[in-house]
Point group: D2
Chain length 285, copies 4
């Protein structure tokens, strides 16, 4: 897609690491000096003794996020416009969504301001339970609320049962999320260009269960059967709701996209980033 | 897609089972009696002491195949027109491609002749090595030619390396094939409506390797590095070529589709058939 | 081992199923009629309006447990003498530890009273953290206390590191437990006659991690590194303790054994029971 | 065990690598100079233009093997005394059995000659089919003789069926072999001190099959049912026999042990070596 002009830069960072805050300060100062309008997220601003705006009221053309995948996912969920382009600066244990290392961050933002970037648009999923709707970049997770006690789930795709049984939970993941929690849970990797999403089960009693990839247009329902413990609905790592027996969660493609700023383009870019990820995940963390 | 009118029915069967041949005879006679033009495959014809035509010269509007997935895959590869609709009658150990059980076969053909059917069009893959081109319904398999001796493979998608290392082989599978050999090799299941294909490795030395799902438009190359044993290129279960060090196999989407006759329609049909498959594969074979 | 004479029969049951309570009543009455001394567990007794004794003060020669594996594991942990022989009557979702079906229960107890039985003695593990010691029949589980947030663990066997990294948790399982939670978590099956125990990781970030089987005499330490969420220590499905950063759990062979009453004997008995289990776990739950 | 005095040193090497032959020459000369009796294997000797003796007629107190696991396994199988201590010098793609790197080889041999070493004694398995008996250090593999065509196997332990179905094959592995081919085939790792052996299936159709660890004293039979292709019996990577329908292979503990020279001692040594292996197998090969 064509890349919109960027004028206002939002800046958010994890606040539990000195280096992250120091980088935030440096980027803020350097951009302001260049005459760029910078909006600091309020918690970061407080730490830096500057003025800030809560993420939920921020409306930048670009959001720069300093942190790991968790920080990016939380920011993506809180921004009022879910389609704001995000540039991730990697500072964390798991950083697959981020694009640049800290020392490249300023140069990267300059390139973006000059229009030299690509927007990667990735499928999001929407989980619907009763009146509640939540969009995820990575995954919806329905899991037991009681450690080591299985729940009884029934999962249907397009009205046809694809799973019924006892399990710790089920991950419904976007292709973007396939390199996240779903991968740890023995799932496959899916190129984000594939129009599909993924189901992976957490320690199901039925030993013949396999990950399932369904078309992006398919609607999935997760039904909590009973009797058994309560379950938790978790969206991109954040607990959203506690669910009791009989609850039904519908998962379907979201009408909005996740947008990530990429500095390299071309079909193979995903695979080049994947190579780094696999090297790191084959080593000690 | 709209369903073309069927007039000429081709009939092929496995020839190593009395019941399969008996069914072939029964279908032939019943259809001829109804005035349908039936073309018997020559080996089956010989067993039944009738006249026949080799598959490679047959040009029916519909091919009825009595047997397991192996019989269907062989027939699909031999027919001159790779897009002839196929109706599989299940008689074998593994029958996921087939649509009807033997006792339903005649009724099913009558429905098809009356136009009451759907055509499921599935992605095929094309393997290209030198001058050789071969299309597959299920999978391309590149594996060591020497039992228990690994080969060294390099796999690239869109020019980016996604695997390099020692392995017994790699399966490049269509969504249709994801319920075949790739599933035994610890791969995920992919709805045939997903525009993608799958790579699964056979006993790789690198323990962190995971199945990879790439977009249907992506081009994959398999490179046999050395030193090591010869490798075999296997297409839908049939050995096609022996390959030496330095050989390169390109795999990409085929311009033609596999077409299967389905009597039920709707988005969930795949999942209803999947349920049967999983039940059988969780049991003893 | 030789089988001690049984005189006093303890009786415990799950209390949330009418059929289980009805069976408890039936067994109680039939045994009392035969002059056998029966000690009812107090909760069951209350439901049946009879007199009972808490498990923690019960000292029978044989404990009959009506329920699934969870009921058996809880009873085993509560009995004052951890080596009391247990006869499991299968009434639950997962019943691998149990020996007989409900309709066989009375006949089975009669056989045991007549001395016609074998005692299967299985390795137990002991988890030690600070002053706390707990013995398990199936498994010790150290897992994150916050759903979907990994902990950082270091695992050492005999002082040598065998794992360090981010994971949802680790299961340390006896051979008996290898058909329980560890099996759902992709672990192998171990014949209880093998003098060894097993480690299986829950969704580790490192993709090359494999289950590890160590000699029964080996000592394992689980170290909760940080920073990260609290962890839970779970013994045979029951949360025992919350652990913070820097906590160390030592796991080693317990000096006591688990004793199960078996009516069939011989080396192959485990495999005959395994066959049933696998059939059930390959099917829908 | 106590370590016997070493006087005669046998020396074998892979012959397809210049560095391996150069090391063989260096070790030979240095040891002869020190007055040690060195027996060169005949193929190595021919390459070095020295005199040699075939492995099958060699009777040293210690066999030094330069190469990877394949070279060690072949040497172990050919020596007349299957209990000759082996010191592996690592030169190959997969070197878990070897003890020292090339540059440490001379110093290591000197330590062994001075009696400063330990003997690790590992369980071997014996495969028996008709009159043929073969002992393995790593694994017995029964697999299809026709690529991508499954065989029908029935596996029994102590006379009880533990598997029946279609599969590419089955690996029966010692604990030593658990870090070899069985590990690639999704098996667990077993400390060689555990008195047990392991079964892992190669791409079985039944999706609920799990690796199984049985007691060292258990007897396993592998039965080739039909109809289907021929199968190959492979011992430590070498094809031993072709088997037809109805063939039965018995696998049991061998009366002899594999003996490896280790320079470090103590319970944790295996885990220290394992750490290296896992690091390598998580990386590119």
């Amino acid at each position: 897609m064509k890349t919109p002009a960027i004028r206002r830069v939002g800046l958010v960072s994890r606040t539990d690491q000195v280096e992250a805050l120091r980088l935030a300060r440096g980027l803020h100062d350097a951009l302001v000096k260049r005459g760029v309008e910078v909006i600091l997220e309020s918690e970061v601003a407080a730490k830096l003794k500057l003025e800030g705006v809560p993420l939920s009221r921020m409306d930048p053309d670009l959001l720069v996020v300093i942190g790991g995948d968790g920080t990016i996912l939380r920011a993506a969920k809180t921004l009022p416009s879910s389609e704001t382009p995000i540039l991730g600066v990697k500072m964390g244990k798991t950083c697959f969504l981020g694009e640049v290392d800290p020392h490249e961050a300023l140069r990267a933002i300059e390139l973006v301001l000059a229009g030299h970037y690509e927007l990667e648009e990735n499928l999001k999923l929407r989980a619907i339970v009763g009146d509640l709707k939540v969009d995820v970049v990575n995954e919806v997770l329905l899991m037991t609320g009681q450690p080591a006690k299985v729940v009884k789930l029934k999962v249907e795709v397009e009205g046809e049962e694809v799973f019924e049984g006892l399990t710790d939970g089920v991950i419904v993941s976007t292709p973007t999320g396939s390199t996240g929690y779903a991968l740890s849970a023995h799932g496959p990797i899916i190129d984000p260009k594939v129009e599909a999403y993924l189901m992976v089960y957490l320690n199901p009693l039925n030993l013949g269960v396999r990950p399932l990839i369904v078309a992006a247009e398919s609607v999935t329902t997760l039904r909590l059967e009973g009797p058994g413990p309560k379950a938790l609905l978790i969206a991109d790592g954040e607990v959203i709701k506690e669910l009791g027996e009989g609850s039904v969660v519908e998962v379907r493609r979201s009408p909005v996209k996740a947008r990530f700023v990429r500095l390299r383009s071309g079909r193979g870019v995903f695979y080049s980033r994947l190579k780094d990820l696999m090297r790191r995940r084959g080593l000690r963390d």
